[in-house]
């Protein structure tokens, strides 16, 4: 077993353990903090995959913005923050069963695929994935349309979120 494999296994265990804590923590702030550690584990996974840009963006976007937004949202809906009642709904066992089935099904499907034991070829020297990414994002015969559409999507989300959460009819104190 090589060092990289050991690091991968540790990261995977850490991430999956944090993931389990996310879905089982009673306290929602704890769940959000466990989500942060799970996402950090995913960032390490990207680093293992030599996707430097993705790893850093994962930390910037998920930990720096999305997790903060989650914590703010929990604070704003604070009534349930220390909810002592059950955090699972009545048919949680069905959800658990379905998750296990999904995992089993994916595992079974993967077993039958020939490309599974493929190993990565080393990154060619002089290959700069960020320049390549820049090229791909702005050259017209590649992904310039998704790039612009992502901008539209995010602005639409901003407008929608601002409107939904705080439109004047919702009894907000603002005029």
């Amino acid at each position: 077993m090589t060092g990289e494999q050991i690091i991968f296994l540790l990261t995977a265990l850490f991430t999956l353990g944090s993931g389990v804590m996310v879905v089982t923590s009673r306290n929602l702030i704890h769940a959000a903090l466990w989500l942060v550690s799970a996402l950090f584990g995913v960032a390490v996974t990207y680093a293992l995959l030599d996707a430097a840009f993705l790893a850093v963006v994962q930390v910037v976007v998920y930990i720096g913005a999305i997790a903060i937004l989650f914590i703010f949202a929990v604070m704003l809906t604070r009534k349930d923050m220390r909810d002592q009642g059950p955090q699972m709904n009545t048919n949680w066992w069905f959800g658990a069963l379905l998750s296990v089935l999904v995992f089993g099904g994916l595992f079974f499907l993967l077993q039958g695929w020939s490309g599974l034991s493929r190993t990565a070829s080393p990154i060619p020297p002089g290959f700069d994935s960020i320049s390549e990414l820049g090229n791909a994002l702005i050259s017209p015969d590649a992904y310039v349309l998704p790039f612009e559409v992502a901008s539209v999507l995010l602005v639409a989300a901003l407008i929608g979120a601002v409107y939904v959460a705080f439109n004047p009819r919702s009894g907000d104190t603002r005029k």
């Binding site: 604070r78 994002l137 992502a150 959460a165």
Partner: protein
């Protein structure tokens, strides 16, 4: 060797040093706790009610606007790296991208969401 190993080492050492300092202080410092010491500090006044108070929704709005801008600005980094080689077309694309983004800001502004009160 992968540069990420050094980053990992920085994370590990960056944790070891504060843990060591705090642990050392914990080891040397006195530990005589009593209920008065463990009260919440509010300038000597007794705490009233729960400390997890309801917050102004405005904090959430700013976090929301930040989230959108953060993701979009991060998208611009690969664009900026290649800008020197790609000429005017890429610049125009980036400007369109930024203008769409600024339209969202203007909307939020006009709706009065950026006001504090």
């Amino acid at each position: 060797m992968s540069p990420w190993i050094y980053i990992g080492l920085f994370f590990i050492v960056g944790l070891i040093i504060p843990v060591g300092a705090i642990g050392f202080a914990w080891f040397l410092g006195p530990r005589k706790s009593n209920p008065i010491k463990r009260t919440t500090y509010e300038c000597g006044i007794e705490t009233v009610g729960d400390s997890w108070v309801q917050f102004k929704a405005q904090y959430y709005i700013f976090a929301l606007v930040f989230l959108v801008f953060d993701v979009e600005t991060v998208f611009l980094f690969p664009w900026a790296v290649r800008l020197g080689q790609l000429g005017l077309f890429a610049v125009v694309e980036g400007i369109i991208f930024i203008l769409i983004l600024l339209a969202g800001l203007v909307y939020t502004w006009r709706k009065g969401m950026l006001e504090w009160a």
